[in-house]
């Protein structure tokens, strides 16, 4: 079994572990670091439940090797806001607009939406739908997810001020 040392900054903290070379990033996050907020839905990069930010870009972490993320910065759902801290606008938007039913796809949806808004702070409905094409949801019909992202776009500044103030 070939192993290697990987050093990845996860949610702002540098982590370093000796892992199997073939280890996927999502398994590094879930099984090595025990950050189980990132979900595995399909293992075939179809569903997007495992979406995380890799140096700020949304990636499906079931299709990235841990080794490929060496030296990179990864943000997972756990890294958006600490327990007890205010939610990010996207997290709050999903709560306000009920952008979920069972919640399994939600971590991936929130990470993909976070990346979208970083790129495009004021997306229209079509842009939101196209940007979330890689993230499947079985229970909402997407309507309220779209509303959640719009909520985040409309409240981004206000929430940031509240957090800062």
């Amino acid at each position: 079994m070939s192993t290697m040392n990987v050093t990845i900054t996860v949610n702002g903290t540098e982590t370093s572990h000796q892992v199997e070379s073939r280890l996927l990033l999502v398994h590094y996050l879930r099984e090595v670091l025990r950050l189980t907020g990132t979900h595995v839905g399909c293992d075939t990069s179809s569903c997007g439940a495992c979406t995380v930010l890799l140096d700020g870009q949304a990636v499906k972490s079931c299709t990235v090797l841990a080794a490929q993320a060496r030296g990179c910065s990864v943000t997972t759902i756990e890294g958006l806001s600490a327990p007890g801290d205010p939610f990010t606008p996207v997290q709050e938007g999903f709560r306000q607009e009920h952008g979920l039913q069972c919640g399994f796809c939600t971590p991936g949806m929130i990470m993909a939406s976070t990346a979208l808004l970083a790129d495009n702070p004021d997306p229209g409905e079509d842009e939101i739908r196209r940007s979330l094409e890689g993230n499947l949801c079985r229970c909402t019909g997407y309507e309220m997810i779209v509303r959640a992202v719009r909520w985040a776009a409309e409240h981004a500044a206000g929430l940031a001020e509240e957090v800062a103030g």
């Binding site: 399909c42 075939t44 179809s46 569903c47 009920h98 039913q101 409905e125 079509d126 939101i128 739908r129 196209r130 979330l132 094409e133 890689g134 993230n135 499947l136 949801c137 079985r138 229970c139 909402t140 019909g141 997407y142 309507e143 309220m144 997810i145 779209v146």
Partner: protein, 242 residues
Amino acid sequence: MGSRAVPVGGEGVKTASTRVIERATKIAAHLLEADEADIEVADGQFSVRGTPSKSVPWADVAWKSFQPLELPPDLEPGCLDATVFQQVPNFSFPCGAYCCVVEIDRGTGGVTIRSMHLVDDCGTVINPLLAEGQVHGGVAQGIAQALFESMEYDEHGLPRTATLVDYLVPAAPDLPSYTSGRVVTPTPNNTLGAKGIGESGSVGAPPAVVNAVVDALSHLGVRHVDMPVTPFKVWKLLQEAR
């Protein structure tokens, strides 16, 4: 029985909650030295009608419920606990009407939903936001059944659509935005008046979508299309009509 979380489970929650409130009211009356009939329960506390300054919060009532010396004589410690076994007497019958407008691409046979209007009657609505979410989710599955999803097998009986790579679950761009409305006719079959809502969308959407497609093709003599209405099926119907 159909969708029954609220008609059956909700009824149990209501019955059990009512029992807990009745006993908590007795404790509060005892603590406030007031008559049980004069106790009002609102905003997280029990107060004496007409004397709002005399009140006790739920947390205190719950704490006292474990202390035998603080309880009225007819209540046991730990009495804010209720277990309910029940059957509801009959089914609930939610109903509704869905309307769908589709556009068909003559070149590819692809069907796009232009608008989708949903009106449901699930009786008493407990939480409007959750009820709307349930409808949306059901409609999405109904549209998926009408247009996209199908388990396909080859001639040896092996599944050809065994993963999400082959089995088409719609993503956000594949589905429309919905407008929804509500009619409220409480059911007499439970005291909440609530009817099921979880499956309304998946029952109403397939006929709405498929009938819209058939209507769009009716001038070509089309009276039926099997689900899922794939672009290939529509394209063939268009070719045959030429």
